[in-house]
Amino acid sequence: MSILNAFRSNTKGGAAAVLALAIAAGCALASCSPENLVGNAQLPPDVPDPGQTHTAAGAVEAYRGALLLFRSAVGGDPNSMVPVSGLLADELRAGDLGQQGNISDGMRVDSRFMPEYSGSGDDIVTPNPARVAYELLQKARGQSHESRGALIAYPPAGSADLQGHLDAIEAYSDVYLADLFCSGIPLSTLDFGKDFTYQPGSSTEQVYQKAVALFDSALTLAVDSERVLNLARVGKGRALLALGNYADAATAVASVPDEFQYVLHYDQTASPGPNDGNLNRSFAFADFDRFSGATGIPLTMVDRDGENGLPFMSSNDPRSAWVDDGTNQFGRPQIHPAKYSIAGDGPLVIASGVEARLIQAEAALKAGSGSWLTTLNTLRTDGTYDTQPDSVDSSKTDTLWHAGTGGVAGLKPLSDPGDANAQVDLLFSERGFWLFLTGSRQGDLRRLIRQYSRQSNHVYPTGTYPGAYNTYGNDVTAPIEGAERISNPLFTGCAGRGA
């Protein structure tokens, strides 16, 4: 008997039959999954169709998007890693010092006075430079996740190399985060094709370890790109160095050629998009413009910052050459590093053969090998020099040392100071100058505390701060902004603010 006949012949049974029929029809039509019902949900202007992104070509564009964000996070923003870490360390100073009653965010970073958000009040406690640097680095990580997912799902030609490249820049982002911020950094993930996954804070050591793993992945994947391999090698060496694994660090960078440089290119040529602004300039355009500055407060170079700082200016070291721009809008001296054009043009080297040699030198020093000094000197000069009359006093003669493998002329060979601490000081000074304003100094200062048992106030700028606070604070890391604590239920704040 058909359902319909049952319905006709038996009213009770018929009712049930019709109900069952209706439900069955409904379930069949609905297929019980909205995915089967999705039509074309199209988009507002200026927003590409996600479907177009989910192609091999789209994956490549997404990969480029990650590189662009990484470039921005390292040195393309007034508050990117390089200037902010330089401000906290001894490379830069806030340009508005002396403005009593006007405690700028730049001064709070510069003076090492950055209390962590307590969770009970306004979350806008983290100084803006540190907040933005954190967000830029995390954004670069997020885009790397997204792009890697796209490359795996829609692989273009050479997908493995591109994935390896993404691994390397994500690892660098991790290293920068670990260098600049407190222990307890959440490394949440943007999940390709899904939503996102919050993660709890990772200790500084865990972040470096994760970076090492990513560098290893990059070394496995990017076999066809020597540039990426060398980036990964130097990055891995840097991360291992931060973990105190000197020998492995030296091994990691051993094959990196002296002339290698991984360069982030900045350019004052603007992008054509109507709302893109100039995505291509370096931080120097904004931070060293004495009258404007995108942040409104220019930064300036500083000599012997807070007693412990290196003599970046007074040493007249060509690696930290500077340009005197006069005074800025606050009446303070405005000096910018010669290596960065205030037009925003130029390269920013984040990994190089020089750094590889420095890593090897440090490993040698740690191992008690005398090669450390040889390595440093090889970077400085080939041992030859010229003489010529002094430009001021013609009765005197200047010695012009020829460039070593570091490629910078005018650096005379170093002598072994003998004392172990002095040797470390010399090594880190060399690192400071060679890697001046490339985002390395902050990590080095923390390593001096963490690995060489130095006191923070013997390493970081200290003493009288010529700004609103009068004295430097004690922070050696930046706190993680309150927004993370508010929105990420797994994050409960910094695990430690020490080195």
Partner: protein, 1148 residues
């Protein structure tokens, strides 16, 4: 009402004789007769049976009795007609004096006359004698020994007017358990009814109940024919639901039904919004402005969505039409695009709104409108039904000859009343000694006088003039049984009240060497053509079909002159020098320009087309199926034009912004309803259906500047300043089942809807929307104790859930493209723009509603009451995402908010006078809504601008401001300046942006048998907190005494001093009483109408917005600055004007 008794008995031809009494007027005699046993089951006509033999009461007699006792009169009648009359003086007032004079009347009629008013009626017994008994009462007395036998009583019930059988009428015997329903042929059989005199009761909802004495024979059966007259009860109305047509009685919700045809015919109605406003309890109408065609936003039972629209959906003849009132398309598509300006610093286009698609439906073509206010009623309607549903049924033709109707209206409009005078404080500049205007807070001048002035009240300078409105409509309907038609067309033309002052026009001519363009002098124009038709065809005895077609073409023109009203309000004109002075915050500046900007023209050309087809097929007696398919297409061409060289201040190069948009709304519905009996008097009405709905919107816009001199087109423009395109496409599919368990007095309605949509997250299970409701006609219960008090009392309760869909891209991870410069060249890159939410699902509204409907006093008084509690769960909000995911400032749309609306609604309809020459009806509806954001969800902080803020624990879109805590005249100069005012650091709640209380009164008085009809409406609102920016942050300090009045209190000065820091002094909780409409109509007599070859003819004087009484300090609180989104604000935008018109209506 006179009640008489007529009795027939076919004793001579029947084996037994029965009698019956009819309880109807003499004009409505209903005959009944017994039927021979051999003819059982066949319907016999009363005439045929009664004619067989003359019955005693049919015997003709003549009487001439004057002032005799009833006893004497009865005796006389008994003797002359040989009745064998029997009665007892215990129930018959035998000493009553009566008179009767008649020739050749029946004995029955004679008895009827003399017994009139006694409560006694004549009945015929089984022995062919006539007996006087007490008329039907609560306890009918039995004059003879009872229950000597049993018989069947066959009752046939028909409608008085149509004579059609009535299905489902309740038939019973008073004081017994007999209670059955009539069949679809109108028959009911009462079995084994004890013989004797009984009182038959017949009830049917919507009809006046009938109680009639009958005499039940000792054996066999008696047939009783009953005709019922329709009463006024609303519960009998048929409601269009998602599952088909249902009686209101069976619905557990309060649904407002508007008989649009009759309202539009007698009231000044020019739009659907106007039709709805005030007539739907729980509906709040937010007007954007008083410009012709400007849209309004409708809010049913309060707003619930924080980010999504709160607009109800609209269904026309089964198909959904696009009717968003808060969408971006509510604005002129060109005005919202681009900010490039004209290249000469004009600042780009002015923002203007565009007419609402809802108001493009011709009200003249609408038969009725049903408003489902919330989820409990709208569960089965699918996408966005949580905001309520407006169901529109277009006029349908009736079979018969063609009937024509013609309407013509012409009238005028103007801004009523005066604008508040401004206080201008004159003085001299301390440095230059030149005369300047000198507010209290200005110290660069020495004041010498205070004068009042208002340019808007000055005939020479005002932009407020007289507008006019005209409309015509022509309709014809008719057809045959096989095909009916209703075709109509209408034309509306409205000119708004704004006009350029002559002095400005002259200045323009002087500056430009030409007269200003027409759009500058009278910018506000609205023209609308509409053609509508509905065809219905009977395809077979079991199938019919209908096709609705609507076409509207509308052209709206605006200019930026209306944006100058607030500036003009603050302008002082020195009559002697002709110099203009304009207030600018706490100073007043000399200006050479009376009206700064009136050169931009905005136009919106819209074509709105709808086709809706419905097929009904009844393949089986218990099964009805139907299908709807339709499409609604809206095409728009919007422009904003500033011709080259028109700006006074500089040589403008002009611009043209042009945008075109298309909206396509497609609908397919399938449904089937089966009805079958169930035990215990129930029957199951099972409906199931499926819906497909697709909304596709697209628009493209281009802006060009550098127009060639004298041209107004893109061609020849020097530069393209922008181009843009927007496309959205939403597809939804739903299925529902609705089993209703229907008893004669009791309906349990259940239902379930399942929906899928392209807007839902990919990881979301399909949402389910259930409903359940109970409707109980308690007054029809046998045990109901006070039946005599109620004609009808129905109690009801309902619960339902519905949703509001997410946006088309809320679930998606979207990307941003750019072309950065890298390594010496540009490269294409994409980055994540929004991370999307694969878990996103519809906002969910749960509503519980309960109430009652009651009719009293022979349906002269109808009362309805509802209470509701509507919860919006899963309200969509932007939730900050921790920066560790993708950096800072990242948000994700999540379903986490909760909003509650609770309230009550009451309606009362009364026929205050119901006589032949005069009738007076009045209806009142009252509603109260309490809106509250109960939770924002974790991680979400209060958001929105101060004047429209979303804060947990307070009404949605509430008004907030930093409070003025105090002030002190520190320098003792008698002037309060900003630094002498102490402001609170935190915002304080000032009130809600929608009214809490609304009440509306509609009343119609008909005189001289409806020759003259007077009607009007009053609307009351309270609890609305409006931001009166016209006296605040713009330039209107002259309206604040604190700025100019030397006698102003320090408090008034303080409010002015911090005007730029807080809106505290600008927010005002207001009450309004508005005389919304008034109409006097003269209806010509048929003879007079025939003189014009018309069947009917009327002429009416109609007015709208006749009066406003309010404590609001601005002009009118019911205006908004925003035509999109949910924001409301009074920035001085043009309020609703007053209009008077003369309307002629004729039918042929």
């Amino acid at each position: 009402m006179r009640r008489t008794v007529i009795l027939w008995c076919a004793a001579g031809i029947l084996p037994w004789c029965s009698a019956m009494l009819g309880a109807q007027s003499t004009a409505q005699k209903v005959r009944s007769a017994a039927t021979p046993a051999s003819a059982r089951g066949k319907s016999a006509t009363a005439d045929g049976d009664a004619a067989a033999e003359e019955l005693p009461l049919d015997r003709k007699i003549s009487l001439d009795l004057s002032n005799v006792t009833l006893r004497e009169a009865l005796k006389e009648i008994d003797q002359k007609a040989q009745l064998g009359l029997a009665y007892t003086p215990r129930i018959v007032p035998v000493n009553k004096k009566v008179s009767i004079k008649a020739d050749s009347i029946t004995a029955g009629t004679a008895l009827e006359r003399v017994l009139e008013g006694t409560g006694v009626v004549a009945v015929m017994t089984t022995s062919n004698t006539v007996m006087l008994v007490k008329q039907a009462g609560k306890h009918a007395e039995l004059p003879v020994s009872d229950s000597s036998g049993f018989a069947y009583v066959l009752v046939h019930v028909v409608d008085t007017v149509s004579a059609k059988p009535m299905d489902g009428a309740d038939v019973g015997i008073r004081g017994s358990k007999f209670d059955v329903k009539t069949t679809d042929q109108g028959y009911a059989v009462l079995q084994h009814v004890p013989s004797g005199l009984r009182t038959l009761t017949v009830r049917f909802l919507g009809y006046s109940p009938i109680e009639r004495p009958i005499v039940v024979p000792d054996t066999g059966y008696v047939r009783i024919d009953v005709a019922m007259r329709m009463g006024m009860t609303r519960l009998q109305e048929v409601v269009t639901t998602a599952a088909g047509q249902q009686r209101r009685l069976e619905l557990a919700n309060d649904i407002t039904i508007l008989d649009a045809d009759s309202i539009v015919r007698t009231q000044p109605i020019s739009s659907v919004t106007q039709l709805l406003e005030g007539r739907v309890p729980g509906l709040t109408v937010e007007h954007t402005s008083g410009a012709p065609g400007d849209p309004s936003r409708l809010r049913l039972r309060g707003a619930s969505s924080m980010l999504k629209n709160n607009d109800p959906i609209v269904i026309v003849d089964g198909v959904r039409v696009y009717a968003k009132q808060s969408d971006s398309t509510s604005a002129n598509l060109a005005s919202g695009r681009g900010t490039a300006g004209d290249g000469a610093g004009s600042g780009g286009t002015e923002f203007t709104s565009a007419p609402s698609p809802l108001d493009q439906i011709d009200p003249q073509a609408i038969q009725k409108v049903e408003v489902l206010k919330g989820p409990s009623a709208a569960t089965l309607y699918g996408p966005d039904a949580a905001n309520g549903v407006i169901v529109i049924t277009m006029k349908k033709g009736q079979s018969g000859p063609a009937r024509w109707n013609v309407n013509a209206t012409h009238g005028l409009s103007y801004m009523p009343g005066k604008y508040p005078e401004g206080l201008f404080r004159w003085g001299t500049d301390r440095r230059t000694y030149l005369p300047i205007l000198c507010p209290l807070q200005a110290f660069n001048c020495r004041a010498d006088s205070v004068v009042s002035f208002q340019a808007l009240n000055n005939d020479k300078y005002t932009v407020l003039h007289q507008g006019n409105v005209s409309s015509m409509s022509l309709g014809v309907s008719g057809g045959s049984d096989a095909l009916t038609y209703a075709v109509s067309g209408s034309y509306d033309n409205e000119e708004g009240i704004l006009g350029l002052p002559e002095v400005v026009a002259q200045q323009f001519e002087t500056d430009h060497g030409m007269a200003p363009e027409s759009w500058m002098t009278r910018p506000q124009q609205l023209e609308r053509w509409s053609a509508n038709s509905r065809l219905t065809a009977k395809l077979s005895p079991k199938a019919d079909a209908s096709l609705t077609t609507m076409l509207t073409r509308e052209k709206q023109q605006r200019s930026d002159l209306e944006n100058d009203i607030s500036d003009l309000m603050a302008t002082y004109i020195d009559a002697g020098t002709g110099q203009y002075w304009r207030a600018d915050n706490t100073s007043l500046n000399r200006t050479n320009v009376l009206i700064p900007d009136f050169y931009q023209k905005s136009t919106d050309d819209a074509t709105n087309f709808t086709n809706a087809a419905t097929i009904n097929w009844r393949p089986l007696s218990w099964l009805t199926t139907s299908a709807d398919a339709g499409i609604n297409v809206i095409n728009r061409q919007d422009d904003v034009l500033l011709p080259r060289g028109f700006l006074q201040t500089q040589d403008s190069i002009g611009f043209l912004h042009t945008a075109s948009g298309n909206t396509v709304q497609s609908t397919v519905n399938l449904r089937a309803t089966g009805t079958l009996p169930m035990p215990w008097g129930f029957h199951l009405q099972l409906s199931s259906g499926a819906n497909y709905s697709r909304t596709a919107e697209s628009d493209v816009g281009t802006g060009v500047s550098g127009l060639a001199p004298g041209t107004t087109s893109v061609n020849g423009a020097e530069q393209i300043t922008y181009s843009s395109q927007a496309v959205t496409d939403i597809t939804s599919f739903g299925w529902y089942v609705e089993p209703d368990f229907v008893h004669d007095r009791f309906t349990i309605s259940t239902g379930l809807r399942i929906d899928g949509s392209s807007t839902f997250g990919s990881n979301v299970s399909i949402p389910i929307f259930p409903k359940i409701g109970v409707s109980w006609l308690i007054s029809q219960e046998p045990w109901f104790p006070i039946k005599h008090f109620f004609d009808v009392l129905r109690v009801r309760a309902a619960y339902g859930r519905a949703g509001v869909w997410p946006g088309p891209s809320d679930q998606l991870r979207l990307y941003h493209s750019s072309r950065p410069f890298d390594d010496g060249g540009f490269v294409d890159v994409t980055q994540v723009s929004t991370i999307g939410n694969s878990q996103i699902r519809p906002e969910r509204s749960d509503e519980t509603e309960g109430g009652f409907d009651a009719d009293f006093l022979d349906s002269r008084l109808s009362v309805g009451f509802s209470g509701y509690r509507k919860m919006r769960y899963d309200a969509l909000e932007f939730v900050p995402v921790a920066p560790s995911v993708y950096g800072g400032q990242v948000q994700q749309m999540q379903n986490i908010g909760t909003v509650r609306n609770t309230g009550i609604e009451a309606t009362l309809t009364a026929q205050l006078v119901r006589t032949d020459p005069i009738s007076w009806t009045a209806s009142v509806n009252v509603s109260r809504n309490h809106n509250l954001v109960t939770a924002l969800g974790p991680g979400v902080r209060p958001f929105g601008p101060d004047f429209q803020r979303v804060v947990a624990g307070y009404p949605l879109f509430g008004r907030w401001a930093r409070p003025i805590l105090g002030f002190s005249d520190i320098d003792k100069n008698g002037i309060i300046t900003k630094n002498e005012v102490q402001l609170g650091d935190s915002l304080v709640f000032m009130g809600g942006s929608d009214p809490n209380y609304e009440a509306n009164l509609f009343s119609t008085l008909s005189l001289f048998r409806s020759t003259i009809t007077v009607s009007g409406s009053l609307a009351y609102q309270a609890g609305l907190t409006q931001v009166n920016q016209t006296v605040g942050t713009t330039s209107q300090v002259v309206f604040s005494p604190g700025a100019s009045d030397p006698h102003a209190s320090l408090a008034e000065q303080a409010a002015v001093a911090v005007m730029n820091e807080t809106m505290y002094g600008l927010m005002q909780t207001v009450s309004t009483l508005r005389l919304g409409s008034f109409s006097v109509a003269y209806n010509f007599s048929a003879a007079a109408a025939a003189h014009f070859r018309a069947r009917s003819l009327s002429i009416a004087l109609q007015g709208t917005n006749i009066g406003l009484w309010t404590n609001y300090k601005g002009k009118d609180p019911n205006v908004n600055a925003y035509s999109t989104g949910n924001n409301t604000l009074d920035t001085g935008v043009l309020p609703q004007p007053r209009a008077w018109s003369l309307a002629v209506h004729a039918t042929y």
